[in-house]
Structures are given as C-alpha cells and as structure tokens.
C-alpha cells in the first residue's frame, strides 16, 4: 500500500455507482490516469467542486499495490487541492466551454496509453487553458492552435509551407497550394494526390501561425479564413485519431 502525490488537469468525469465518480486526469509525471473519487457527488463531499473538468489540481492517491500510478482503474483519490480553477472562467462563456471541452477530449485521445508519461501534452494543455481563460484570443483559435500543436507533439506535425511528402520548398515565396490530409499538409504539384483541398492562401498562413504560436498574425485573421482553417484542422485531427471526436462538432465558433 502506498500514497502517491501528483498534479494534473481533470479531463473528464463519469458517474460511478451511487455517489462516486471516475476522474480522468492528465498528470505532469504519469500521463493520463483514471481514478475514483468516493462520495464526490454528495453536496457534503470534502472534494467540493475541486475535481470537475478543467480543474488543475494537486492530489493524493491511495494505491493498494506497489505499481506505477494509473495501472489500475480503481485507485482512490484521497485528497485534492486546487492549483487553478480554470473551469470557473470557462463555464460562463459558451464558446470557451465548447472549445475547452474539445481541447480536453483532444488531450485525452492523443494520450493513448494510460499511465505513460506525456509531459509535453500536459504542458500544452496547461498553456491552452491559460490562453483560453485569459480571453486574449478567440476561443476557436486557441482550440485550433492547441490541436495543431498536440498533433505535432504526437508526431503528426502538419506542414503548411514545404511539401509534406517530399519536403520540396515552394518556388515562389508562398506555401504550396494543395492540402492533402493523408499526406500531412500542403503538397507540391509532383506529390499532389488526385483528391485534395485548395485552401486560400491566408488560411494556410493562419494555420502556420497557429502552429508556430504567432498570435499577432492569427488574431488579425478574417472570419472566413478561420472557418476554412478550422475545417482543415478538424479533418486533419480526425484522420489521426481512430474514432471521431464527439465534442468537435458541438464547438461554437
């Protein structure tokens, strides 16, 4: 028997039995873990609202056996302290709520293996929630930036300038025009598959800026290019995760 202490972000909660919940948390050191919070649904629970989605918490886990955290579904959370209650600044704005939920689901799906360290994904999510709650950028842009960077961390970095297939640099000072999800981004005329999208130039510039974190370019983008960009981001993400993301089509942009 042992006690572990960790910090992480609550991704999802699911009802369990009468008053308990299974809490999925993306931790700094142990990746994604699923734990049980006993009695958390009772109004008298000592956990209060600390273990709701978006919460950044410092928590203690009671393990019944000497094994790495998260190897079993039923380790118990015994204590939780709030580090940052991001949910509070998300739930009062519906666009933030739907974009933020899609971020949580993306993080969950891109950390396939439970208990496997995913520190970069964790740091990305933390940064994403900070950006979302600061209100400095449109929630939809924060979401798309998060998805693109999460895919990059997972090894699926899309290309929005050089050819994703052969690496050829474009001849003029403009990205290749053809976008092929399966190829991993824009492609040159030689690598172009029969079916591909031809997005507008500012859309590709926007996506490149989101991936690189150039917020000045992203914030200045037009609505129609954001819409086209989010369509490409969604298609690219769906290609790389097995089942589609449920929350993505409910995002209010």
């Amino acid at each position: 028997m042992s006690l572990h202490r960790a910090d992480g972000i609550v991704l999802r909660t699911q009802k369990l039995g009468e008053a308990d919940r299974i809490i999925t948390i993306l931790t700094r050191e142990h990746g994604r873990v699923r734990l049980v919070a006993k009695g958390v649904r009772r109004t008298s629970s000592k956990f209060g609202a600390r273990l709701e989605p978006f919460a950044h918490v410092d928590f203690q886990v009671f393990s019944r056996r000497h094994q790495p955290l998260g190897n079993r579904a039923l380790d118990l959370i015994t204590q939780a302290e709030t580090i940052a209650p991001y949910g509070e600044r998300i739930v009062n704005d519906y666009s933030r709520y739907t974009s933020g939920t899609a971020m949580l689901e993306t993080a969950e799906r891109l950390t396939d293996a439970e208990g496997e360290p995913a520190v970069q994904q964790y740091l990305l999510l933390l940064g994403g929630l900070r950006a979302l709650t600061s209100g400095e950028h449109a929630p939809g842009l924060v979401l798309d930036a998060f998805i693109l960077r999460s895919l990059a961390v997972a090894g699926y970095a899309p290309s929005f300038y050089d050819c994703a297939q052969c690496g050829a640099e474009p001849t003029q000072d403009a990205p290749w025009r053809f976008f092929a999800v399966a190829a991993g981004g824009v492609v040159c005329p030689n690598c172009k598959p029969p079916a591909c999208a031809v997005p507008q130039r500012p859309t590709l510039d926007l996506l490149g800026a989101l991936l690189a974190g150039e917020w000045r370019t992203a914030d200045a983008s037009e609505e129609r290019h954001r819409r086209e960009g989010s369509g490409l981001v969604a298609a690219y993400l769906q290609w790389h995760v097995e089942r589609g993301l449920r929350s993505l089509k409910l995002v209010e942009r």
Partner: protein
C-alpha cells in the same frame, strides 16, 4: 440419451438465461459487469413472489408512465400532476435537468410555480449538445410572454453551469423589455458546514449567486 446428457442440456439453457439477465442488467446506468452479476444472483435466490412483483412493476411502468407533453416530467397521463394543478403559478418556470430534480424541489415545498425538464445537461464530451435537450420546447413555452420569471435550476456542477450559461444567453432577448426575469439558484455552501472548509470553486459560485437580503 442418458440422464447426464439430458441434465447437461437443461444446464446449458439455464446458463443462457442467467447470462441474458446479467447482460440486460449490465446495460443499466452505472452498473458494471460485477454489479450485474451480483444483482442477478440475488434475484436467483430471492422469493419468487418478490421477483414477480419487480417484473410486474417494470412492465407496468413502461405501459403506463410517459413524459408530460408540456414540461417533460414523468406523468401517468398526457400531462403531469404539476401541469394539471390549477393552483400552480404559471408565471414562474423552473428549469431542471431531470425528473428526479422535480421530486427534490417538490420535497422542499418552497416552489409553487411550474417546471421544465430538459432531459440532461449540455456535455459535448459525451456528445450531448443543445439539440439533444428539450430546449426548443422551452422556447415555445416562453414565446407567448406569460412566464415572467425563469429559474435556472440545473445541477451546480460544470455541465449544469454551462447549460445555464447557454440558456441565459438564448433567453436574454426576451428580457429586454423587463417582461422576463432570469434567476439562478444560489448554490454552493452546504448548510451546517464551515465557510473555511468550502472549496474555492463552490465559495466563488456562492458569491456569484448571492441574493439581496431584505432588512
């Protein structure tokens, strides 16, 4: 065919039914395979009269109980008891997630208005969006202007709060001329608890939901 073979055949059928029962129980909310097995064996050992009563009530509930055409609450007729009661105030409408919330509020005897049951809360990660709830029906009920106060009594958790946010924004145009007031249940602090032990989120919500006190 020997006796053993005949018994074997009976045994196989018997096992099949038990497995069917476990499978059906396992489909119920919050019941995992282990719980389903426990309940199944409990039923196997129970008095046949008790089991018959349970089976009867399951069949009867599906045959006789439906959802109120107006508010979505469980009802034994086209409309529920609350909607049929002429003494209930039709100008105050309380929005809740589930029928069991109606029961909880009725138990307080504080509320004399009527209800609207959404059928859940907006939870995109579970694939539940506004179109999956009885929100269009709510807007229809508000359209004639007879409701003057809308109480948002969704659960005091993240999904409930987000649902209240969505509804408040949707209904806001109707409040412009002062004909409709939107209120939210003051939530959070458990009665009998110490303020210092309340978590930050709950305490924050209690502050947001504070009401003015008449002195």
């Amino acid at each position: 065919m020997g006796r053993d073979a005949a018994r074997g055949a009976v045994l196989a059928v018997y096992e099949g039914v038990v497995q069917d029962l476990i499978d059906e129980l396992g489909r119920l909310p919050n019941i995992g395979p282990k719980s389903a097995q426990r309940i199944a064996f409990h039923l196997l050992q129970a008095d046949p009269v008790d089991v018959r009563r349970l089976a009867d009530v399951l069949v009867r509930v599906k045959e006789t109980v439906r959802f109120c055409e107006l508010c979505g609450n469980v009802a034994s007729a086209a409309r529920c008891r609350v909607c049929l009661d002429p003494r209930r105030d039709p100008t105050v409408l309380c929005v809740v997630e589930e029928s069991k919330d109606v029961v909880a509020i009725e138990r307080t005897r504080e509320f004399r208005g009527r209800y609207h049951v959404l059928g859940g809360a907006i939870s995109p990660i579970d694939g539940v969006g506004p179109d999956d709830l009885r929100i269009r029906e709510l807007m229809t009920r508000l359209a004639d202007g007879s409701v003057t106060e809308l109480i948002l009594a969704t659960d005091p958790n993240l999904e409930g709060e987000a649902t209240a946010t969505y509804l408040a924004r949707l209904v806001k145009p109707l409040t412009a001329d002062g004909a409709l007031r939107i209120t939210r249940l003051a939530s959070g602090l458990p009665v009998g608890g110490d303020l210092e032990y309340a978590d930050e989120v709950t305490l924050g919500r209690a502050f947001e939901g504070r009401r003015s006190l008449d002195v």
